[in-house]
């Protein structure tokens, strides 16, 4: 066991997978000597050399297109996009190429690869270092989307993603990269994609979140507990595929549902979760299905603490739900 944080766990996963399989190659901007701007790839170039730890030219579409060519050829590529806010030049490659090769070729060509990228606010990063675009990618067929919330999951999910036969967008909650540490096994282990984690059991209300917002949600659940409201908290861990069964089991028990996500409200992943709960379990619901989200503005700087969901805002929604 090693006591480490999320960024340390990601580094462990990369190192172990590169040791295990010399077909694994990582590429991105500043990932070599610099070890990545968040140090997720620290030390890897010294251990594995420049061929397998490739500092690329500064072009996101280039990084993903190049990784696509590697993946098609059979090399297991892990591409880093320095901040997910910079991913848009690569959207064409991700949406129309990476995610579509298997389907468009009738299964002849596949594109298994991992696109790692830090996402989310709360780091005083302003508009271009804070966004959460997961729902935009969830809207494209053929892409898995994984978002860990703790070091143990970060390592286990990343290893699963690297070994997966399909392309995975792996979004890393940079706000909590170094927020806390926990015991992470040094051995090989995986956390399966598409399996949610019931982080806290409860009976009155279901709270669903992922990534850094999970911790805001847990804090709100704890505040609610003080007021005698028992919340169940689910960490989705991946939004595609989505573990709908775990959500269903919970809402059938509690009859109340709130999702917490930090992206803008309109068409955010919370909207999808609300719709799914309504479609499948409306007869169990005892209160309106609610969502606590960011707002439909560009991501702010000085006002980000208001923009992002807070435990207080989540708690108010919990009270609104139970008092309905």
């Amino acid at each position: 066991m090693v006591d480490t944080n999320i960024v340390g766990a990601i580094n462990m996963a990369l190192k172990e997978e590169m040791e295990r399989d010399n077909n694994v190659v990582i590429l991105g901007e500043d990932i070599g000597k610099d070890g990545g701007v968040f140090r997720a790839t620290q030390g890897l170039i010294d251990k594995f050399g420049r061929d397998r730890v490739l500092d690329t030219p500064l072009s996101e579409s280039g990084i993903i297109g190049f990784a696509t060519g590697l993946a098609l050829y059979g090399v297991r590529a892990i591409a880093e996009i320095q901040f997910v806010d910079f991913i848009w030049p690569a959207a064409d490659q991700i949406i129309s190429e990476v995610a579509k090769f298997r389907y468009r070729s009738g299964g002849e060509y596949t594109c298994p690869m991992v696109i790692r990228s830090p996402y989310g606010g709360g780091v005083k990063g302003a508009h271009y270092h804070s966004q959460s675009p997961e729902s935009i990618f969830a809207h494209t067929a053929g892409l898995k989307i994984v978002i860990p919330s703790n070091p143990f999951d970060a390592k286990g999910l990343l290893i699963s993603a690297i070994r997966d036969s399909d392309p995975v967008l792996f979004l890393e909650p940079k706000r909590i990269y170094r927020a806390f540490t926990e015991e992470v096994p040094e051995d090989d282990y995986t956390v399966p994609l598409g399996k949610a984690n019931v982080v806290k059991e409860g009976t009155d209300l279901t709270l669903v979140s992922y990534g850094s917002m999970l911790h805001v949600t847990l804090e709100a659940a704890s505040l609610a507990e003080d007021e005698g409201i028992s919340c169940e908290v689910i960490d989705l861990r991946s939004i595609v595929p989505l573990d709908l069964d775990t959500i269903g089991m919970s809402v059938m028990k509690t009859g109340r549902f709130i999702s917490v996500t930090e992206a803008p409200k309109t068409s955010g992943f919370s909207a999808e979760l609300s719709a799914l709960v309504a479609e499948n379990w409306i007869e169990y619901m005892e209160a309106p299905i609610l969502r606590v989200t960011g707002y439909d503005t560009p991501f702010p700087l000085t006002l980000e603490s208001f923009y992002l969901p807070t435990p207080k805002r989540v708690l108010d929604n919990i009270k609104k739900s139970v008092s309905f």
Binding site: L54, S105, E108
Partner: protein, 358 residues
């Protein structure tokens, strides 16, 4: 600034550069010619089928058939990323004509399960990558594949085809840059056919020529008469040698012309003159190659007609068979989105299957 254009045959097909004339075995020359004749016939059949409503779409190769030369200059293990007018490379490598016809009909034997517009096909068995439709995306992908070959120490190259329009795309830029910076074994072949649908080359770039762009990337550049089969072969051979030697990529600008429409949906009379087309028809790559092959006694007068008749019969037979076959069923709609079908797709599949017609 432009480098000298490589020409070995003149517009009529006379040998004008004996120093550069490549030594290619007669069997290969014959097979290449056969493939080019077949391509021309596929165009004739394809557009008829589209006009009859039997297939949905047709993409023409007419006027650009000299690209077959690249298949001779490359090894079969070398990867090819086609744009979408390079059918001849797959056919030369042995991609069955039957597969192509079934693909055009998008029937139950189509390897792509009826998911692609006719002509946008690939074949993994022939290292001929399934193309896209957004322009230029394959250029950077080919660079990545070349890098994979380099770090594995393979003796192969990655080759990519694209049009003059694609040279304006993001992925052309990143593809050229990444390939050059990593010194990967990549051959970039621009089929400069003068028109990107209706937009002429002069509106696509202010550069004197496309090959000049190689300089900015620190890359070797060659310009060829793209309707000259021998020039095409020589340029790709040189680029391949250089790439496997570890000297990095080459940009080849093949100056050619799209004699046909862009696709079956296009009417070129709106934007270009008949005179211009006629001028280029006089430089027809098949006629030039035929004349050369007759001079080399690889072919005789009359061989082409016999060949055309043979392929015409074969294509008619394959078309009749392909037309009889059904399409892929509704139950395949959700296949190949992922390797294993996730539960949410299982649910959607169960829903749509209620609407399956008997």
């Amino acid at each position: 600034m432009t480098t000298e254009r490589i020409r070995i045959l003149d517009d009529e097909g006379n040998l004008i550069n004996t120093d550069l004339e490549p030594k290619i075995p007669k069997t290969k020359l014959k097979k290449a010619f056969e493939t080019m004749v077949l391509l021309r016939l596929i165009d004739e059949k394809g557009i008829k089928l589209q006009r009859q409503g039997k297939v949905s779409f047709h993409i023409f190769t007419r006027g650009q058939e000299a690209h077959v030369a690249a298949a001779l200059a490359l090894n079969d293990e070398d990867w090819i990323y086609p744009a979408y007018r390079e059918h001849g490379l797959a056919l030369y490598r042995g991609y069955p004509l039957e597969d192509l016809v079934n693909h055009l009909f998008a029937n139950i034997k189509d390897k792509h399960k009826g998911r692609r517009l006719p002509g946008l096909f690939g074949s993994k068995d022939h290292n001929f990558v399934n193309p896209s439709a957004p322009i230029g995306t394959q250029v950077i992908q080919a660079a990545g594949t070349g890098y994979g070959m380099k770090i594995r120490g393979e003796n192969t190259v990655s080759t990519v085809f694209f049009g003059d329009g694609a040279t304006s795309s993001n992925d052309f830029h990143s593809g050229m840059n990444f390939g050059a910076v990593t010194k990967s074994p990549v051959i970039y072949i621009c089929q400069n056919n003068q028109w990107a649908i209706s937009v002429p080359l002069k509106y696509q770039t202010a550069a004197d020529s496309i090959v000049d762009k190689a300089i900015g990337y620190g890359m070797n550049g060659l310009q060829i008469d793209g309707n000259d089969f021998l020039a095409f072969y020589v340029a790709v051979s040189q680029a391949r040698e250089r790439a496997v030697r570890g000297d990095g990529p080459t940009l080849i600008e093949s100056v050619t012309y799209r004699v046909g429409p862009h696709t079956s949906s296009d009417d070129p009379s709106v934007y270009r003159s008949e005179e211009e087309v006629k001028l280029w028809e006089k430089k027809d790559p098949i006629n030039r190659f035929e004349k050369y092959l007759i001079s080399k006694q690889v072919l005789k007068n009359g061989d082409r007609d016999k060949l055309t008749k043979k392929y015409d019969d074969e294509l008619n037979r394959l078309i009749d068979e392909a037309a009889k076959l059904p399409k892929f069923g509704l139950e395949t709609l959700f296949d190949d989105v992922f390797e294993e079908m996730p539960e949410f797709l299982e649910r959607q599949k169960a829903e749509i299957l209620q609407y399956k017609e008997d």
